[in-house]
Assembly symmetry: C2
Homo-oligomer: 335 residues x 2
DNA sequence: CTGTTAGCGCCTTCAC
DNA sequence: GTGAAGGCGCTAACAG
């Protein structure tokens, strides 16, 4: 391999016959430089194909112009869309994005965040994946801006960007009630994430207001889904409608219902939280609570970069709540 | 904000009452250190919650233990799955992953790669998105290992990991021919990517071998899809089957056919390249050529890290080809 | 406007 | 075994 070392600022300075500092000034515009020298420097840069060493810059200065993104899974289309949007914003800001997946492991979340800090990221956007006791509130992270996305982190100093979880769930369940359903089950992968909890709250509100009994399942995983649904439908107070609290849960339900040959919406109705590709092409098409995935990412990234600009003047954490939309299709029982 | 600066190696040395160098040795294991001092150093590290500054390490040494990933879109589930797998491998290797999306812009691909080099990445995995003339063969990149994924880059020094594109397409089209179809159209978003080209080759081989005429469309984008299909079906030699060359094209076709109310597989049969979530739950379920997305990512990452270990001893670029599988469901006309 | 000095945090090199 | 010096590439801070 052609191991020609990269040109440094000193090389440029030599070629342009100026001091390294002058080159630096031309590069960053941090001070005025005479037109001749500016020209010479620019020529030298071109000639040598000089590119500043961002590591050295980061080591020297305060900012690395890089941010971290921690996400449970990239293979989840909701998270992937968010990530894409964040990446677009980062790119526009000239920032690099260090991405890490946790596979829902809290320890990984923590250690990857530490690694990012070691790499000098200016901030971190995290989609919390594990319990509610994120270690990201520790003081090791007091020097980086953190923005929580999709779920909140219980720390007064951390910004959050979330959606109207409770309201969306409420609307979905009320819609099912409007169709005459009296036995509505909530199917959730867990109830230990702030987002899923809030959706449960919405469900509960709707159920209580209508004087119904709740039917809950908080361990609705891919493996157990079919068994759970089978059992649920066997009982004498079998639900006639399901509300699934996120994309994966909706998929599990769909797959199980198909497998069990249970007609939707005739035998049971279904509304899921989170829209996805093809939801409209299924038979029946799927009624869902749509979340603005790209917006979530865009706003979280913008929020982070704003913070980074501001320089913590009168800092106060904020929670941004984005609206959701009940997209009515067929699986709820509508035409 | 609690702006307590991070501990440095010097801080640790002071607390442990040893030389900074000794701390470094304990950290990296680059030389033996007496048991007492080792202990003292470890204690000091704990006490100060010391974490090495990776930027300084990278600046000093040869390796940054970070790699770049360049991908057209993260919002594409195929690319997202690949990215997830790559991330897992990187994590296992203790490497950070700098991710960047190009949105299929060749210039962005180039500039982001440059940025990554500026940040000292040891290697780059790229899913080429744009034309065949990737600028990544330039000598600016002679110091980083590059692995091309999903598509090849025409450079003898760049490793590639791809799937059996031609073979998969051939099998798909032959399957359609087996169903008696004589007029089979290929619907492709473009023909300027090595992967899509190879799939076209497979299509052409099958068509020629069966002495049929090819019906081609190489600008099958989301916007034009419906119009294209409508026009195609209006002609007197209207196709009775479609072969779509990637996930997005399959989705466009599906959506258009649904919109136009065209029955599948009765009126036209359909086979797509690339499997996806829910393909089996559609009515009809979709026959596809399945690619091992996670494997692709895993292997590409492993390939890169192997190269980084090796230290270019008798270097020769290789192309790894992964098998595909024709997953027969209903849209092709099977039961 | 321009140059010099110094140091970010770490580790290779060389002495002890 | 251990430590001291020096420099990776860059840019604040201070001269001039």
């Amino acid at each position: 391999m052609n191991d020609q070392p990269r040109a440094t600022i000193a090389d440029v300075a030599r070629v342009a016959d100026v001091a390294p500092m002058t080159v630096s000034r031309v590069l960053t515009g941090s001070a005025k430089v005479g037109p001749d020298k500016t020209k010479r420097v620019q020529n030298a840069i071109q000639m040598l194909r000089y590119q500043p060493n961002e590591m050295a810059r980061a080591l020297r200065g305060q900012r690395s112009r890089s941010v971290g993104l921690i996400v449970p899974r990239l293979s989840d289309s909701f998270f992937a869309s968010i990530s894409h949007a964040i990446n677009d914003v980062a790119k526009d800001c000239g920032c690099s994005l260090i991405v890490s997946t946790t596979n829902d492991d809290e320890e990984v979340e923590y250690s990857q965040a530490q690694m990012m800090v070691s790499r000098g990221v200016d901030g971190i956007i995290v989609i919390p994946g594990a319990g509610l006791h994120s270690k990201l509130k520790r003081r090791e992270f007091s020097n980086v801006q953190i923005v929580a996305l999709d779920k909140t982190i219980d720390d007064p100093s951390i910004d959050s960007v979330v959606v109207e979880n409770k309201k969306g769930a409420l609307a979905a369940v009320q819609h099912l009630i409007g169709h005459g359903h009296r036995k509505i089950a909530i199917l959730s992968e867990s109830n230990s994430l702030s987002s899923l909890r809030a959706r449960f709250e919405g469900y509960r509100r709707a159920v209580i207001d209508a004087e119904l009994k709740s039917i809950t399942c908080f361990d609705f995983t891919a493996e157990r889904a079919t068994q759970i649904i089978r059992d649920l439908l066997k009982k004498k107070d079998a639900p006639t409608a399901f509300f699934t609290t996120n994309g994966p849960a909706t998929l599990h339900a769909l797959r199980s219902l198909f497998e069990l040959g249970i007609g939707v919406p005739d035998r049971v109705a279904l509304i899921g939280f989170d829209d996805f590709e093809l939801a409209d092409l299924l038979k029946p098409s799927l009624t869902v609570v749509r979340q603005p995935a790209r917006e979530l990412g865009r706003i979280a990234a913008t929020c982070l970069f704003d913070r980074l600009q501001d320089g913590d003047a009168n800092y106060r954490a904020k929670t941004i709540v984005l609206p959701v939309e009940l997209v009515i299709r067929q699986s709820c029982g509508c035409v």
